[in-house]
């Protein structure tokens, strides 16, 4: 049990996928204008990331490795991720049209979110078991959602603040997220 919690903590905080590994920055910059849509995006990415991590583990261990087709890894993973994203898009469109509209183009773009592919490939590299890779995917997605929501909250505050004209808009957002990354560096002192 403690191993599970430790793995979740280390993927979500210590090795945060956005702020420490610098993966998946596009949706973090793009969908962080409001906390609500950021949370929705986080949930959608969590679903995709966890499912893709498990599916890519199964494909890798049951299909690619036994037949020595490691060179097809990226291709098959992208195929699976694209299918999962398509499914998520259909589901969100059915379940919550408002969220579907607020996520807009960033929903299909989860396919090209490098965090999703990156976590699947890291799973393969570290030779986790199926359960562990599922946890690894889920923990990374938790970290992604956490950063997205925190950053959206910060941006909502920054939008009301007086920002020098040269920094208004994207520059101040980049400065903010770099400070957030500095703050997350503090977690690397955690001994997990």
């Amino acid at each position: 049990m403690s191993e599970v919690i430790l793995l979740l903590l280390s993927t979500a905080l210590v090795n945060n996928v956005v702020l420490i590994k610098f993966l998946g920055l596009c949706p973090v910059m793009g969908v962080s204008k409001s906390v609500d849509s950021a949370f929705g995006m986080g949930l959608a990415t969590t679903f995709v990331l966890t499912l893709a991590a498990a599916a890519s583990w199964m494909l890798d261990n049951w299909l690619l490795r036994p037949f020595g087709m490691g060179y097809l890894r990226i291709l098959t993973f992208i195929l699976v991720i694209a299918a999962v994203v398509q499914f998520t898009e259909m589901f969100i469109r059915k379940a919550s049209p408002g969220l579907y509209r607020s996520l807009g183009i960033y929903l299909p773009l989860i396919t090209t979110n490098c965090a999703v592919l990156g976590v699947a490939l890291l799973n393969v590299e570290q030779r986790f078991s199926l359960f562990k890779s599922l946890l690894y995917g889920f923990g990374s997605a938790l970290g992604f959602t956490l950063v997205l929501v925190i950053f959206a909250g910060l941006r909502e505050r920054v939008a009301l603040a007086q920002v020098p004209a040269a920094f208004a808009g994207a520059p101040i957002a980049l400065v903010t997220i770099s400070l957030l990354a500095l703050a997350f560096m503090g977690f690397s002192g955690l001994n997990v």
């Binding site: 037949f67 087709m69 097809l72």
Partner: protein, 187 residues
């Protein structure tokens, strides 16, 4: 060989799953609504009182649907004439699409209008270009602005923002590039 087979099989399986999911999770969209949205200007200027052209199309389609009770909500005849940038031509098109007859005498008849900058009044303050929903206004700070005729939808947002009243709405000027032969009158 096994690489080709496995990829093909993977693609086929995923395709079948997605196809089934598409059937199960189908969202019913009103074909009339899409047709109406295609006719509306699409500049989302908000003069109709709805949140944008899509919302206006939804409202018109809902009012036109047979299940909607006609006693409550805005009547269909008022909704059809709700778009000022579209003018009389749009109202007539909408009424034609819905198969109703509407009294169009109250609608401004001069046809589509676009904004034009009076160059002797413009001070180059850039306020108008910020409120333009279609980015139709050209101009930098302290330069005389100009309106791109093809992009302007006549939403009149810029008229109120101009401190020197340099923006005026005029009927679309006809030039050699824009003139089209008038349609022959129906016999």
């Amino acid at each position: 060989m096994i690489a080709i087979l496995s990829l093909t099989l993977l693609g086929a399986v995923l395709g079948v799953i997605l196809g089934i999911a598409n059937r199960l999770l189908k969202v019913e969209s009103d074909p009339l609504e899409e047709e109406l949205l295609a006719v509306l200007p699409g500049s989302n200027c908000g003069q109709c009182g709805f949140a944008g052209c899509a919302a206006a199309a939804t409202a018109i389609a809902t009012a036109a649907s047979p299940t909607c009770c006609s006693s409550e909500g805005t009547p269909l005849a008022t909704l059809v004439t709700c778009c000022p940038p579209g003018g009389k031509a749009l109202a007539a098109t909408l009424a034609g699409k819905l198969g109703i007859t509407v009294d169009l005498s109250g609608v401004a008849a001069e046809g589509p209008r676009i904004a034009i900058v009076a160059e002797e009044l413009c001070i180059g303050c850039c306020r108008c270009s910020k409120v333009c929903p279609t980015d139709a206004i050209l101009g930098a700070s302290r330069q005389i602005h100009n309106v791109l005729r093809e992009a302007c939808t006549g939403c009149e947002n810029c008229v109120d923002s101009c401190p020197t009243e340099a923006l005026v709405m005029r009927p679309v000027p006809i030039t050699l590039q824009h003139w089209v032969m008038p349609r022959p009158l129906a016999a």
